[in-house]
C-alpha cells in the first residue's frame, strides 16, 4: 500500500529534542522539574507513535520527506519495525526516567539537568535511528545516539567511567567512521541515499563498491553490537555507567545500533545480495556464535552483577547477529523479537541491580545472598526477567528463542541451534545463580519485610519484569505482524 505522508513522524523525535532544550531552561529554575519535563516528552513521543500505530498495523507506513532534499532521497519512514521500536524506546525511556527520579539525585546530585538533557538527546537519537528512511539520516541519528551515550557514561564522577567512556568513544568513532565510509560508497554507487533506492540499485547488480560497503558496515555494526572480538568496550561501559543509563545502554543502545544492521542487510543490500554475492553471512554467523558462548561463559565467571549483565548483553546480541545472518525468515523474526524482549529483560535486570546498589551499595553477586528476604518484590521482578533471559516458556524470551532456533533449522545450520541451546543453558546458569542466591542462600536471617526502596524505582522494574511475561503472551498478536513484515523482506 502506498505510504502516507505526515508531519507527525517528525514530531515523534522532535518532542524529546525540544524538551532537551526546554530542560536547560527549567533545570535552572528548579532541578525537580527536569524529570517531569523529560517524562512528558517521552510520553508525548509514545502517544504520537500510538496515534500512528493504527495505519501502520494495517500495512500503511507513514513517511515524511523533510526539506527539498528529495533528490538525495532523504526521508523519515514509520514502518512496522520502526513503530515497534519507537514504542519500545519511548516506553522504556519513560520507565527509566521514572526510575531516575529517585536514583539520580542519589548518584549524581549536581548534574541532574545535564543528565536529563543528554538523556533526551539519546532518546531522540534512538527514535530517529528507528524511523530513518535514508542512509544519511540514519547515520546522523546514530551519531546523535552514540555521542549522547558517550557522555552519559562519562557523566558519573568516577575515573573508571571516564576511561570506559573513552574506550567506548574510540571504538564507537571508529565504527561510525566505517559505517560512514560504507554509506559514502553506497551513495557513490547508487546516486541516492534513500534505502529503497539503494536497494534497487544493489539488486540490479552488486558491484565491488557495494561489497566493500557491506564489509565496512558489518565491521562497524559488529563493533556497535560488541561482538567478539571487538566486544571489549562494552562490559566496562555498561557496568561503569550510572544504573539507569546501563539499562538504557543494554536495553536499547547496544541493540539499536545493532538493529541498524538488520535495516542495512534487508533494506539496503537485500538478502539476495548478501547471500549470493557477498558471502559475508557465514563469517557473521560464526562471530555471533562465538559471542553467544563467550558472553555466556564470561557472565558465569563474573561476580559483579552489572558486569555479568553486560556480558550477558554480548551473548544476547550474539543471538541476534546469528539470527539475522542466518537470513531465514524465522531467524530474522526471532532476532527482531529478541531485540524487543531482551530490551525489556535487560532493562529490568539493570534496574533491579540499581535497586540493590541504591539500597545496599553492593554490586557483588555473592553479597546478594538472602536479599530476597529484605527486597522480595525487587527479587521477584529480577526473577521474572531472568526467566525471560533464559527463555523459559511462556516468557517473551522463549518466543524469541523458539524462532531463533527454528531459523537455524530453516537455514539448514543445526549446529548453530546447538550453540543457541548451549547459550540458553549458560544464561540459565548465570541468571539462576543470582536468583538462587537471592532466595535460597544460607545467609538469610530475620523476618520477611517489604522493600524499603522508593516506589518510583520499584515500579518500573516490576513493570518491566511483568512486561517480559506479558510480551511472551502478547507475542500472539505481535508476531504475525513481524512475520508478515519479514516475509515481505525475504521473499
Amino acid at each position: 500500500m502506498e505510504p502516507r505522508s505526515s508531519g507527525l513522524v517528525v514530531l515523534v523525535l522532535v518532542c524529546p529534542l525540544a524538551a532537551a532544550v526546554l530542560l536547560q531552561l527549567f533545570g535552572r529554575l528548579d532541578r525537580r522539574l527536569c524529570m517531569p519535563t523529560a517524562l512528558a516528552a517521552c510520553l508525548a513521543s509514545l502517544s504520537l507513535t500510538g496515534v500512528l500505530a493504527g495505519n501502520v498495523a494495517r500495512g500503511m507506513p507513514w513517511v515524511y520527506h523533510p526539506g527539498n532534499w528529495g533528490g538525495l532521497g532523504i526521508e523519515l519512514k514509520m514502518d512496522l519495525l520502526a513503530l515497534l521500536f519507537c514504542l519500545l524506546i519511548a516506553g522504556l525511556a519513560s520507565l527509566v526516567l521514572v526510575y531516575s527520579y529517585r536514583f539520580i539525585p542519589h548518584e549524581l546530585a549536581p548534574r541532574e539537568t545535564s543528565y536529563y538533557t543528554v538523556f533526551l538527546f539519546l532518546v531522540s537519537g534512538l527514535l530517529g535511528l528507528s524511523i530513518a528512511g535514508d542512509l544519511l539520516t540514519f547515520w546522523i541519528f546514530m551519531e546523535v545516539m552514540a555521542l549522547s551515550a558517550y557522555v552519559l557514561i562519562a557523566i558519573i564522577d568516577v575515573p573508571h567511567a571516564f576511561e570506559s567512556s573513552l574506550r567506548y568513544l574510540f571504538m564507537g568513532a571508529l565504527s561510525s567512521l566505517a559505517i560512514l565510509l560504507g554509506v559514502v560508497l553506497l551513495y557513490g554507487a547508487a546516486g541516492t541515499l534513500n534505502m529503497a533506492g539503494v536497494l534497487g540499485v544493489v539488486r540490479a547488480g552488486a558491484n565491488g563498491q557495494a561489497t566493500l560497503a557491506l564489509a565496512l558496515c558489518s565491521v562497524g555494526f559488529c563493533v556497535k553490537g560488541a561482538q567478539v572480538p571487538v566486544h571489549f568496550w562494552l562490559p566496562g561501559a555498561h557496568s561503569a555507567a550510572v544504573t539507569p543509563i546501563s539499562a538504557m545502554h543494554s536495553g536499547l543502545v547496544a541493540k539499536l545500533g545493532f538493529y541498524g544492521f538488520a535495516r542495512f542487510i534487508f533494506f539496503v543490500f537485500g538478502t539476495t545480495a548478501a547471500v549470493g554475492v557477498l558471502k559475508m553471512t557465514s563469517v557473521l554467523q560464526w562471530i555471533g556464535a562465538l559471542s553467544i558462548l563467550y558472553g555466556g561463559i564470561m557472565a558465569i565467571l563474573e561476580d559483579d552483577l552489572k558486569l555479568m549483565l553486560a556480558y550477558s548483553t554480548i551473548s544476547h546480541i550474539g543471538f541476534m547477529l546469528l539470527g539475522i545472518s542466518l537470513l531465514s525468515p524465522a531467524g530474522l523474526t526471532g532476532a527482531l523479537f529478541h531485540l524487543l524482549d531482551d530490551g525489556l529483560a535487560k532493562a529490568c535486570l539493570f534496574l533491579c541491580a540499581g535497586i540493590f546498589i541504591y539500597r545496599d551499595g553492593t554490586r557483588s553477586i555473592q553479597q546478594l545472598k538472602g536479599i530476597a528476604l529484605r527486597t522480595p518484590l525487587t527479587a521477584a521482578a529480577f526473577t521474572l526477567a531472568a526467566f525471560s533471559l533464559v527463555g523459559i516458556p511462556p516468557t517473551s524470551g522463549f518466543v524469541a528463542k523458539w524462532y531463533l532456533v527454528l531459523g537455524t533449522l530453516q537455514a539448514r545450520r543445526p549446529f548453530f541451534a546447538a550453540v543457541m541451546i548451549i547459550g540458553a543453558m549458560l544464561a540459565a546458569v548465570y541468571a539462576f545463580r543470582v536468583v538462587f542466591y537471592m532466595f535460597f542462600a544460607p545467609e538469610r536471617s530475620g523476618a520477611l519485610q517489604m522493600d524499603d526502596v522508593p516506589p518510583a524505582m520499584l515500579a518500573p522494574a516490576a513493570i518491566l519484569g511483568a512486561g517480559t511475561w506479558v510480551l511472551g503472551i502478547a507475542a500472539i498478536w505481535i508476531l504475525p505482524h513481524i512475520q508478515r513484515f519479514v516475509a515481505s523482506l525475504v521473499s
Binding site: 522532535v14 532544550v21 536547560q24
Partner: protein
C-alpha cells in the same frame, strides 16, 4: 481367553464342577489367622480357635478330597473381579493331585496346631506365631488348589513370605541369619519361576498346567531356559541340591511345629510344581510317540520297536528332562544324607534328612519323566513318598519340639536316656524313624519299593536303542539309592540311639560342642544348662503327645495298607494327567523280593553306625568348603566387595573429575583474563595515544592546566583558549535565544510562532542546538 481355550482342549474328561469348597479351604485358615490375631492376649481362646480352624480345614479337606478323588474336578471362579482380560483370570480348581497334597497339608497343619497349643508356651510373640502359621496354611493350600501356573505363583510367593515369618520367629541372631538366607533364596526362586512362567505362557499358549495342543512349548528355542528356570524356581523351595543351602539353617531355626510344616509340607510345594512341569511336558507329547510301555522289568524286549520309534524330538525332551531330574534327585539324596550323618543337633539332622528325602521324591518324578507314558511307577513312588515324608518328618520334628520343651536341649550328644522319661514320645519317634528307614510294615518301605522299581524300569528302558543313558547309568543310580538308604538308616539310628537310649553322660565334660542349641532365648540359657545336665525331663504335655501320636498312627497306616492308599489315593491323583498311561493300583508291595531289598541298606547302615561310633568320628566336622553354602557366601561376598570397590572407585574419581573441571575452568578464566588484558592493552594504547595527543597540544598552546577534580576535565581544559571563548559566546547566544523563546511563550505570542514554524527550520534549529548542547555540557562540567 487363553485359559478357557486350554481347558476346552485338555480337560474334556473332567469338566470342572463349580463349588465353593476350594474357596472355603483357603478362606478357613485365613479366617482362623484373623480370629487368632483378634483373640490376641486371651491365649486360651486363641489356641482353641486356632485348633478349631485347622481341624475344620482338615475336615473340609477330607470332604473335598473325597469328592475329587471320586472323579470330579471342583472349581471356583472369581469372575472379572480378579482378572486381567486376555492375560489371566484368578480361579481355584482342584484335581486329584492337588487334593492329595491339600489333604496332606491339612493333616500336618492340624497336628502342628494341636502341638502348638502346648508348645507355644515355650515361645514369645505367640499370637504372631499363630497368625502366620494359619496364614501360611491358607497360602500353601492355595498353591495346591491353583488351576494354573499364575495362581500357583501368586500363592507360592505369598507362602514364601509367610514362611519367612516362621523362620525368623525367634529373632535370635541365628534365626535372623537363617531367615535372611531363606528370603533371598525364596525371592530368587520366585523370580526364576516368574521368568519360567512367562516363557511357558508364551510358548505353551496358556497358563494352565496343560499346554495348548500343538503349541510351540517344546520346539521353542527357549525350552531349555524354561526348564532350568522352572527347576530352579521350584527346586529352591524343594531343597534341591545345590539350592538347598537355606533349608538346614531355616528349618531348625523355626519353632518346632513350624519346622514340622516347613519340612513336612511347605517344601512339598516345590515338588508339586515340578510334578506339574513334568506332566505339562508329558501332556504335550503326542501319545503315539510317548516312550515305550515298560510295565515291569523283563518285558522290555517286546517293545523294542516302539522304543526306536520313540526316538523323536518330543518324547526325547521329556525323557531328557526326566533324566536330568533323576540325577538332581540322586545328588540331592546323597548329599543330604552325607551331611545329615555329621550333625549333632537333632533338628539339623532332620533338616538335612529332609533334603535327602526330597531327593527320593525328585528321583521318582525324574523316573516318571524318563519313562514317559509309562511313568506311573515313578510318579506313584514320588507321590507316596510325599505323603510318607510329610507324615514322618512332621512327626519327628514335633517330637523334637517335645524334647526341646522338656529337656531344653537338642544336641543329641548331650541328651540320652530319654526313653525312661518320655516313653510315649519315644515310641512315636521310633515309629516315624522306622518309617523313614524304610523298614517293612512302615510307610517308607512302600514308597522306597516303588521308587526302586521305577529305577529298575528306567534301567530297562535305557537298555533299548534310542533312549538316553544306558543301563550302566541306572545301575549307578540304583547303587547310590541303596547307599543313601543305608546312610539314612545310619543317621536315624544314630539320632535315636544318642537321644533316647544311650546312658546319659552327665559327669563327663561335653566334647567339642558343634553348634549352639537352637531356639533358646537368653533368659533360658541358665535353666537350659541345668536341665540338660540333670535330665529332669518328663513326658511331654498332653496335646503334644496327641499330635505326635496322630502322625505316628498315620505312618503306621500308610505302611500297613499300601494297596488301599495306592488305589484310592495315589492312582486317582494321577487320573487327570494327559499322556500318562497305566497305573500301579494293582502293585503288591509286600513280596519277598521287595523285602529282601531292605537287607542290604540295613546292613550297610548298621555297620556304618557301629564303625563311626567305634572310632568316635561323629563329632568331627566336615570342612566348610565341601558345602555349597560356602561357595554361595564367597560369591555373595565377592559381589558386595566388588560393589564397594566400585563405589570407592567412584569416590576416588568424583573429586578428580571435579578437579579436572576446576582446572578447565581456571584455564578458561586465565584465557579470558588474557584476552581482556589484550583488549585492555588496546585500550591502554588508545588512552596513551590520546594523552600523547593532548600533551602535544599542550606543548603548542600551553594553557594553565585547570584542576577540576576530573580526569575528563583535562581533556576539555586542553582545548585552545580561543576555541573556548567562541564556544562560550555560542552558549550565551543559545541561552539568550532560549530566554526570548520563553518570554514569547509566556506572553502568549506562541501562536504566531507555531504558525510560522516550519518543520525543516525546526530540525535545523534543533540540530544546531543539539550540537551546542553537547559542547555546553562538556564545558559546564
Amino acid at each position: 481367553m487363553l485359559l478357557a481355550a486350554s481347558e476346552a482342549v485338555e480337560h474334556a474328561a473332567a469338566t470342572p464342577v463349580h463349588s465353593v469348597l476350594p474357596l472355603l479351604l483357603v478362606a478357613l485358615p485365613l479366617a482362623g489367622a484373623l480370629f487368632a490375631a483378634a483373640a490376641g492376649k486371651r491365649e486360651g481362646l486363641r489356641n482353641l480357635l486356632a485348633a478349631f480352624f485347622s481341624l475344620a480345614t482338615l475336615g473340609l479337606a477330607i470332604v473335598l478330597a473325597a469328592r475329587v478323588l471320586g472323579g470330579s474336578t471342583l472349581s471356583f471362579d472369581f469372575g472379572v473381579f480378579i482378572s486381567l482380560p486376555g492375560v489371566f483370570a484368578f480361579r481355584l480348581e482342584v484335581d486329584g493331585l492337588g487334593a492329595v497334597f491339600a489333604l496332606l497339608a491339612s493333616i500336618a497343619w492340624a497336628a502342628a496346631m494341636i502341638h502348638l497349643a502346648d508348645y507355644s508356651w515355650h515361645e514369645e510373640r505367640r499370637t504372631r506365631l499363630y497368625f502366620w502359621m494359619l496364614l501360611s496354611e491358607a497360602m500353601t493350600l492355595g498353591v495346591f488348589l491353583a488351576p494354573d501356573f499364575f495362581t500357583l505363583y501368586v500363592f507360592f510367593e505369598l507362602m514364601g513370605l509367610a514362611g519367612y515369618m516362621l523362620v525368623v520367629h525367634n529373632q535370635t541372631a541365628q534365626a535372623r541369619a537363617a531367615a535372611t538366607k531363606y528370603i533371598y533364596l525364596t525371592v530368587m526362586g520366585g523370580l526364576s519361576l516368574l521368568g519360567a512362567i512367562f516363557l511357558y505362557f508364551y510358548y505353551a499358549g496358556t497358563l494352565g498346567f496343560t499346554p495348548v495342543a500343538g503349541s510351540a512349548y517344546l520346539e521353542a528355542p527357549f525350552r531349555i531356559a524354561a526348564i532350568v528356570l522352572f527347576l530352579a524356581g521350584f527346586g529352591v523351595k524343594a531343597g534341591m541340591v545345590p539350592l538347598h543351602v537355606w533349608l538346614p539353617d531355616a528349618h531348625p531355626a523355626a519353632p518346632s511345629p513350624a519346622s514340622a510344616i516347613l519340612s513336612g509340607v511347605m517344601i512339598k510345594t516345590g515338588v508339586y510344581g515340578i510334578i506339574r512341569v513334568v506332566m505339562a511336558f508329558l501332556a504335550s507329547a503326542p501319545a503315539t510317540e510317548a516312550a515305550p510301555a515298560v510295565s515291569r522289568g523283563g518285558e522290555a524286549a517286546a517293545h523294542g520297536a516302539a522304543a526306536v520309534h520313540a526316538a523323536g524330538g518330543i518324547s526325547h525332551s521329556v525323557q531328557a528332562l526326566g533324566f536330568a531330574i533323576i540325577w538332581l534327585g540322586i545328588l540331592t539324596m546323597f548329599v543330604g544324607m552325607a551331611l545329615a550323618l555329621f550333625q549333632s543337633d537333632i533338628k539339623r539332622t532332620l533338616a538335612y534328612s529332609s533334603v535327602s528325602q526330597m531327593g527320593y521324591i525328585l528321583l521318582g518324578i525324574g523316573c516318571a519323566g524318563y519313562l514317559g507314558a509309562e511313568g506311573a511307577m515313578g510318579l506313584s513312588g514320588a507321590i507316596y513318598h510325599v505323603l510318607n515324608h510329610g507324615l514322618f518328618k512332621a512327626c519327628l520334628f514335633l517330637a523334637a519340639g517335645s524334647i526341646l520343651l522338656r529337656a531344653h536341649e537338642l544336641n543329641m550328644f548331650k541328651l540320652g536316656g530319654l526313653w525312661r522319661r518320655m516313653p510315649l514320645t519315644t515310641i512315636f519317634w521310633c515309629i516315624a524313624a522306622l518309617g523313614i528307614m524304610g523298614v517293612p510294615l512302615f510307610n517308607g518301605f512302600v514308597s522306597k519299593t516303588l521308587l526302586h522299581d521305577a529305577i529298575l524300569e528306567s534301567g530297562h528302558l535305557a537298555g533299548q536303542a534310542g533312549n538316553l543313558g544306558s543301563p550302566g547309568w541306572f545301575s549307578l543310580v540304583e547303587w547310590i539309592f541303596l547307599i543313601t538308604s543305608g546312610g539314612t538308616i545310619c543317621y536315624i539310628l544314630k539320632t535315636t540311639w544318642y537321644t533316647f537310649f544311650r546312658r546319659p553322660e552327665t559327669e563327663r565334660e561335653p566334647a567339642t560342642t558343634e553348634r549352639a542349641p537352637a531356639s533358646f532365648n537368653a533368659a533360658h540359657r541358665e535353666e537350659q544348662v541345668e536341665h540338660a545336665s540333670h535330665h529332669v525331663a518328663s513326658e511331654a504335655p498332653r496335646w503334644m503327645v496327641v499330635a505326635v501320636g496322630a502322625l505316628a498312627a498315620g505312618v503306621l497306616f500308610l505302611g500297613l495298607f499300601p494297596g488301599l492308599i495306592l488305589s484310592r489315593l495315589v492312582t486317582p491323583a494321577q487320573a487327570g494327567f494327559a499322556g500318562l498311561e497305566g497305573n500301579v493300583s494293582g502293585f503288591s508291595v509286600y513280596t519277598l523280593e521287595n523285602v529282601k531289598q531292605i537287607l542290604l541298606p540295613l546292613a550297610f547302615g548298621v555297620g556304618l553306625l557301629l564303625f563311626m561310633a567305634g572310632l568316635r568320628l561323629w563329632q568331627k566336622r566336615l570342612p566348610a568348603y565341601l558345602g555349597a553354602d560356602y561357595w554361595y557366601r564367597r560369591a555373595g561376598a565377592a559381589f558386595f566387595s566388588g560393589l564397594r570397590a566400585g563405589s570407592r572407585g567412584m569416590e576416588w574419581l568424583r573429586p578428580r573429575l571435579g578437579e579436572a573441571w576446576v582446572l578447565a575452568a581456571a584455564g578458561f578464566q586465565r584465557a579470558a583474563a588474557w584476552s581482556s588484558a589484550a583488549g585492555g592493552g588496546m585500550n591502554g594504547a588508545i588512552v596513551s595515544g590520546w594523552q600523547a595527543f593532548m600533551r602535544s597540544t599542550e606543548a603548542v598552546s600551553a594553557p594553565p592546566a585547570q584542576a577540576r577534580g576530573l580526569v575528563m576535565a583535562r581533556g576539555a581544559g586542553a582545548l585552545p583558549g580561543r576555541v573556548r571563548l567562541q564556544m562560550r559566546k555560542l552558549v550565551e547566544m543559545t541561552v539568550q535565544g532560549s530566554r526570548r523563546l520563553a518570554v514569547a511563550v509566556k506572553s502568549g505570542r506562541y501562536a504566531d510562532f507555531i504558525s510560522t514554524f516550519h518543520w525543516d527550520l525546526g530540525i535545523g534549529v534543533v540540530g544546531i542546538s543539539f550540537l551546542l548542547a553537547i559542547m555546553l555540557i562538556i564545558l559546564i562540567k
